[in-house]
Structure formats: structure tokens, C-alpha cells
Subunit: 226 residues, 2 copies
Amino acid sequence: MSTVRERVRAQTIEEIKACALRQLATVGTDLSLRAIARELGLVSSAIYRYFAGRDELLTALIIDGYSDLADEVVTREGAVDRNRPGDRFAAIGHAVRDWALAHRAEYALLYGSPVPGYVAPEETIAPVMRMNTVLVDLLTTATERGTPFEPVALPTSLRHDITSMLGTLGRDGVDPERLARGFTAWASLFGVISFELFGHSVGITGDRDALFAVQLDGLVRVAGLA
Amino acid sequence: MSTVRERVRAQTIEEIKACALRQLATVGTDLSLRAIARELGLVSSAIYRYFAGRDELLTALIIDGYSDLADEVVTREGAVDRNRPGDRFAAIGHAVRDWALAHRAEYALLYGSPVPGYVAPEETIAPVMRMNTVLVDLLTTATERGTPFEPVALPTSLRHDITSMLGTLGRDGVDPERLARGFTAWASLFGVISFELFGHSVGITGDRDALFAVQLDGLVRVAGLA
DNA sequence: TGTACATCAGTGAACGCGCGTTCACTGATGTAC
DNA sequence: TGTACATCAGTGAACGCGCGTTCACTGATGTAC
């Protein structure tokens, strides 16, 4: 192990990413390698020792973002009684929102408009999956415990697709109807958070926390976990 | 009325905006005045006869976007029985989604991540208000008809803020609880649509229309309008 | 209807800027014997 | 422990590019008398 060099290298990579995030926070999604190099006291071409180009850096940021968010969500949700899926959903909701408020630029990168010209490579799938798994786990528990949920009439095509997806995940036990409801709440959660972060909730109240708590209560109901 | 000149001018303005939209669709939010001029066969400085700068063009696009969307929503919702708030909400939902699918770039401009460095001027408030009014109108009808909704315990600060906002709008009749529920469904609607458009719903089903219909059904329930 | 003047669309050159990426290089850090 | 070589971080100059905005200008369209 060529420890010294390797440790320094890993550290520089972290510095570059941290700097990129700071830039995202001020300038938005169009980040500049030259500006990063400048801020780090490097010459612009030095960045290429660490990342093959702009897109590779973006990919690293996205992967880190999903991973960081998933970590947060998993630990916060893990602190709640496993047998109370509604509480678990609420814990997830608060975790996502808190993370989003603390990492606005990263949140926008993950859940805002796609970055023009950038196509996410396959490596990003795994960390996204971690997030999805949290939801599916919770719905699995709800299924096992027989938590009642408001029924939906799924058209056969949809029911078929969802069932086969659940099969792929090894979760045949979960009702497709329950998953449909759960996914609606899931997408809604990000909608509610994006509305707050992107400035569409202005003028309603100054007490953002209270508003979110009430909204989350509504979403737990849609998910059929109240 | 200097008709000829004025008509040509108005037409050129429309051409510039149309070209800008086409650019947004391919390149994303960072639009280039030079590229627009090029495509229109103009010299880059000519644009300044029509718009004071990039930001003014962006503002025009945003205002047009909200207006166009509001038009669509208002007409589609107007075709539904006034006395069925649930159906009205569903009509709104479908109208927003159809518009979003047909105007992806514009939708991202309005409801995606904020454009870095751009602050929306006051002129954008009015068209946004038209959208909000559609929701409030619907909730007013629901109130008048006494449509039942799932109760929420609003903390006093929130209840106070919402009540005073309703007062400002001249809608004192609407319960703050109902508005909270309605607004949750409203934000959720955009969340569900953004999820689909921004690629977070991949892998669930190919039948997007069916999925949305089911999700919308869930949202009508959150809104307490089922 | 005809002329003198004002308005305004569009030109073309120039300003100063920042960007991503390449390339041959220096010099320090690590490795093998 | 000491030397010869390989690896690799960082340099600095250069490439070709596109951008927003300004300015003094030409020439056509409109207006007033």
C-alpha cells in the first residue's frame, strides 16, 4: 500500500467534490472545472488527473448525493419501531426534507430538472436503488402486518407490470395496489419538498415546518399507512 | 396605428420566443441569445431591439408559460360539472400533465430547479396567481357544497397564517384545514408529474397514462374531494 | 400628393470574458534490487 | 542502506470555441405639414 500518495489523492478528490458542491450551491447546475481548479489553487488541467472530464465529476457528485441521502434516510428510519410503517414513512419524509434543506444544490441536482446534455451512466443506478428499497421494505412490512389501505382498481396492464417488477425485486408478497399507493406518496413527498425549495409555496405561511408536518400527514394517508 | 411595423415587430418577438423555447428543449435552461439570432438569420445585437437582455427574455418565456398552462387548465377544468370538485381536480391534473408532456422544456423552466442567477420579477406573479386561483375556486365550491374531507389538526400558527391568506384572497369561507389538504394534493400533483418527466419513475411500468390515472385518484383523496 | 424629418430594425465590428480539453514538460514520491 | 528506474501530481502554454453586451452606422418605414 503506497499509503501517502493514495491518501493524499483521496483527499484531493474529496476537496474537488466539496468545491464542486459549493459551486453548485451558488451558480447552479453548470459547474466549471476551471473555477474549481482556481479555488483549489491548481492549474485547470490538473483536474484531469482526478476526473476524466466534467461529466465524470457530475456522475461522482450524483452518486455521492444519492448515497449520502440514502444513509441519512436509512439511519433516521431505522430509529423507528419496525412495526409501525406509518411512522417509518414519516421518518423518511422528515429525513429527506432535512437533507434537502441542508443540501439544496445537491437536492436540485438529484430531483430537479435534468442537467442538459448529461446522461446518467449505469453506476448511478445502485445508489438510487438503495432509496427505492427503503420504500419497498416499508411496504413489505405493511403487507406482512396486514395494515389496511384504501383500495385502487388497477388496470390489468399496470397490475401486470407492477407485479412483475415486485417479482424481480423478490417481493412477490406485496400487493400491487399497495405499491401503487405507496409510490404515489413517494413521488408526492418529493413534490412537496421541491415546492418548498423551489419557491412555489411562498405566501402560504412562514411556519414551513408546521406546513410540512401537515402535508406529510396527508401523504401517510395516501400511502395507506395512517 | 403604425400597423405594418407593429405587426412585424410582434411577429418577430414571437419568433424569438419560439426559437428560445426550441433551444430550451434541446440545450436546457442555459439559452444563448447568439444562437437564437443565428437561427433566425439575424446578427446577435439585433435581439436587443426586442429584449433588453437574457433575463428579460427568460421572464417573457416564464410569463408565457404560466399563462399558456393556466389557459389550458382553465378550459379543461371548465368543461366539467362545477358541482363535482373531485372531477374538477382530476381534470386539472390531466390538463397539467398533458401540457407538461407537450411542453417538457417549459415545464422544467416553471417547475424544475430554479435558473441559477435569475430572480423572477414581480410581473410573473399575476400568471402564477391564475393557476392558484383555479385550486382555490375548486376548494371554495367544495366548501359551499359541504364536501367532507379528512380532518387535520393544524397548529395555531399555521391555521392563523392560512386563515389570513384566505382573507386576503376574499375566501374567508374556506376552512384552513381543507386548504391545507388541497395544497398538499396540489404540490403532490407536480411531484408526480415531475417524477415522470424527470425520469424517476422508470422501471415501474410502460403504461404511464394508467399509472398517472391511479396516482391522480390518490391525490383526489388527499385533497378530500373523492 | 409631395416633401422634410423622425423613428426604428437590423448591421458589423469590437470589447473582454470564461470555458473544456490537449500536450509535452518538471520534479517529487514510491519501488525493486 | 543506497542506487536506478518507474510512477504519477501538477505545470504552463496553447487550441478553438461561444458567450453577452456596446456602439456608431445604414437604410427602410412611418409621420406631419
